[in-house]
């Protein structure tokens, strides 16, 4: 079983008061936890890579807890989430797909059983590659006010033999959300969709 070797971490928090309209009664906060790890499969085709998902679970939990801490320590304030990965040039997109299970599991675990699928994206890229991580409501994917995204990246990562892993959590709707659709107050919370 390959080790998870961490080179660096970056935690980013945005706090948004307005975007040209009235100052929000409650500011919106978005946080991203980024970790750069060595890609144990860089430079080779390995057929069986699934076990690395289990190896990543403790790191995922640590990153999810980092986000809750960065947002003030109470998991109840978290309303949106998303995840992503950037694979360095000596790896393949499939290596980024290894993040789906441990990243999603970790956030559900820390948030106490969120119901909606965790929106995600991934790509292969060089150092400084930016990734727009999609964000949706944690309990009902169709909540329109919570469709959002957060741009992340690190100037010196991922190197060729690395993977940049990212988790994102937010505390609410877009700051001036006003395009209708399902509201957070109307969630039934049965199927993770509405």
């Amino acid at each position: 079983m390959p080790d998870v070797v961490v080179r660096k971490k970056l935690t980013c928090v945005e706090e948004i008061f307005h975007e040209g309209g009235p100052v929000a009664a409650k500011s919106l906060r978005r946080a991203a936890a980024l970790v750069v790890i060595r890609n144990p499969f860089a430079g080779l085709y390995v057929a069986n890579i699934e076990s690395f998902m289990d190896d990543l679970k403790p790191l995922g939990l640590e990153m999810a807890r980092t986000l809750v801490t960065a947002l003030g320590g109470d998991p109840k304030v978290v309303e949106g989430y998303g995840k992503g990965a950037i694979v360095g040039s000596a790896g393949e997109l499939e290596h980024g797909a290894l993040w789906h299970v441990p990243g999603g599991y970790a956030m559900r675990e820390v948030l106490g059983g969120a119901k909606a699928i965790v929106a995600s994206t991934k790509k292969v890229g060089g150092p400084g590659t930016r990734l727009d991580i999609p964000i949706t409501h944690i309990n009902a994917s169709y909540v329109r006010s919570h469709f959002d995204a957060m741009e992340i990246g690190i100037n010196d990562a991922p190197r060729a033999d690395e993977i940049l892993l990212a988790l994102v959590m937010t505390t609410g709707a877009r700051v001036h959300a006003r395009v209708g659709g399902l509201k957070a107050s109307e969630i039934k919370g049965e199927d993770g969709l509405r």
Binding site: R7, T11, C12, E14, E15, I16, F17, H18, E151, I154
Partner: protein, 194 residues
């Protein structure tokens, strides 16, 4: 509050390995950034004292946020730096008015000391402009292990009528310093240089 703040962003970077060697303790740096309205966008104004007062206010706010993000008491900070990016309807002198006359005093108050010049950079640019914040030891500018920099950017700032102001603080120098020069244990701390 003199500054009209649209959003804050904080970034915390922790380097655990470099060239496959452990960095112990990890090298950590934090930057706090405010995106504010530029009261002088689109016009030439001779007297920039309003921006100087905003600089004083942001010096305290941003340093407090950066130190809190690092999770250390102010006096434990080792190096610092500051920078500003002016949106396209402003002038470079607006960044100078925020950064140079009054921002430094509250930074030093929060950090306990700070005999050295606070290294700085500034530019004019559009949304997503990358700021490279120069870093130097806070009590002795010649400490060679602490000559460093930190890159920050916000994808939706600065807008044309905004200014993005950043303060960076670290609890360490570069991850594996080995180019000689004055070391931090040799600091006399009298003149801010050595």
């Amino acid at each position: 509050m003199k500054a009209k703040i649209r959003k804050f962003a904080t970034f915390v970077e922790e380097i655990q390995r470099e060239m496959d060697r452990e960095v112990s303790p990890p090298a950590r740096k934090a930057a706090a950034v405010a995106v504010i309205e530029n009261p002088f966008a689109g016009k030439y104004v001779e007297d920039l004292s309003e921006l100087m007062a905003i600089g004083e206010e942001l010096g305290e706010l941003l340093t407090t946020r950066a130190v809190a993000a690092l999770g250390i008491p102010g006096p434990s900070a080792e190096s610092y730096g500051k920078a500003a990016a002016v949106g396209e309807n402003g002038e470079l002198e607006h960044a100078a008015a925020i950064l140079h006359p009054k921002l430094g005093t509250p930074v030093r108050r929060v950090l306990g000391k700070g005999a050295a010049l606070i290294p700085s950079s500034k530019k004019r640019g559009g949304l997503g402009t990358i700021l490279d914040i120069p870093l130097g030891h806070k009590d002795a500018a010649f400490v060679r292990s602490h000559f460093d920099g930190m890159e920050v950017s916000i994808n939706d700032a600065p807008r044309a009528n905004e200014i993005m102001v950043a303060v960076a603080v670290t609890s360490s120098g570069r991850p594996l310093p080995r180019v000689g020069g004055l070391t931090k244990d040799q600091i006399k701390g009298e003149d801010g240089l050595r």
